[in-house]
Symmetry: C2
Subunit: 211 residues, 2 copies
């Protein structure tokens, strides 16, 4: 470009040259790979009960499942179904001290790696269910499920429930939830356990204050 | 605050009042929930071969696996292991026309939902392996694995491999990979199939040009 043309150009103003560029982005064709369908595959099998090879009797209610899946996910199910203590054909098991709804929600997690929706429960029933699920997760060695329950209880913590939640957290060795409860007690001016060794007796005194 | 004090304040300038706020954000303690460990659980079971209940014989090599997991993941394994055509105790199966390394990589995907690393293979061997895995995924009805292979081949496509890749994509009904190949052929001035009905004969002419 000639200097004279450049200098008379409207794009040159105050010693600045404005350059206009048109950029066209051509989107490359790529093969789209969908996200993992592992939990969906397992969930579908759970729903259909197809090829189920073990039956649980939970307070009279029959729940069917797949031995291999249970053993893969939970060390407790594995010991129960394949351990040296099992009978030769351990295909029917009684589950004591657990509500059928809780056991079914536990199996939902075993297969789908998530907690069920529980839309039919109100706020308080939902919170109670989560507490039962935490206990069930601890009983069957499902660490991630236990943390999911801890996380939900942590988000829903209030002054009325903090003492009972702390007792539950202490009983089932949920250190993060316990920390949150202790902090909440402190913020609300309630007595707080000082050290780990003292936690249980002090916690009992906290409960005694509130009940 | 008195009006006189406000009016003499250095924070009031040109009819604007500057208000300085110190905001302290207290990070709430939350319970951290780790990501899904479903594929890790399954992968560990695969590696240990613990409770394996089916044996595959692949060109003389023995590969052990869990019937339920295979059936959950692949409709073809399900039919083979639990279908009406199976023997009463179908616990040993011969796999024809497949290299042991390919079958083992297929099982890696079945359990872990990802392709194995294949770091020991050079670029060409790796590409060949991906092609074999695409064929294997198609044979066992593993759609997501097939798409993963298609995606990898798509990224590594070059002028030398486009015609053979197109033939493979056509044979195994990989529509996205086929589209990418056709576009690449067009960009490189090679003859391209016009319509779906004509794709196979035209493709053969493409192959004839290059080989």
């Amino acid at each position: 470009m000639r200097r004279s043309i450049l200098e008379t150009s409207p794009f040159l103003q105050d010693d600045c040259l404005i350059i206009e560029c048109d950029v066209t982005v051509i989107k490359a064709i790529r093969v789209q790979v969908p996200p993992s369908d592992l939990s969906e595959n397992l969930g579908r099998f759970h729903d259909s009960k197809e090829l189920a090879d073990v039956t649980f009797k939970v307070k009279g209610e029959i729940v069917r499942a797949h031995k291999a899946v249970l053993a893969i996910r939970s060390p407790v199910f594995k010991a129960q179904l394949y351990g040296p203590m099992r009978g030769k054909k351990r295909t029917s098991i009684n589950v004591e001290d657990m509500e059928p709804a809780v056991f079914k929600a536990l199996l939902h997690f075993v297969y789908r790696d998530s907690l069920p929706a529980m839309d039919d429960l109100d706020r308080d029933e939902n919170k109670e269910m989560i507490k039962h699920l935490l206990v069930a997760a601890d009983r069957y060695g499902l660490e991630r499920m236990k943390l999911l329950c801890e996380s939900t209880l942590c988000k829903r913590l209030d002054v009325d429930s903090v003492a009972t939640t702390l007792a539950l957290a202490d009983q089932h060795h949920c250190s993060s939830l316990k920390d949150v409860c202790i902090r909440s007690l402190r913020e609300n001016g309630l007595p707080v356990p000082v050290g780990k060794a003292q936690s249980v007796p002090v916690m009992q005194s906290v409960l005694a204050i509130r009940y």
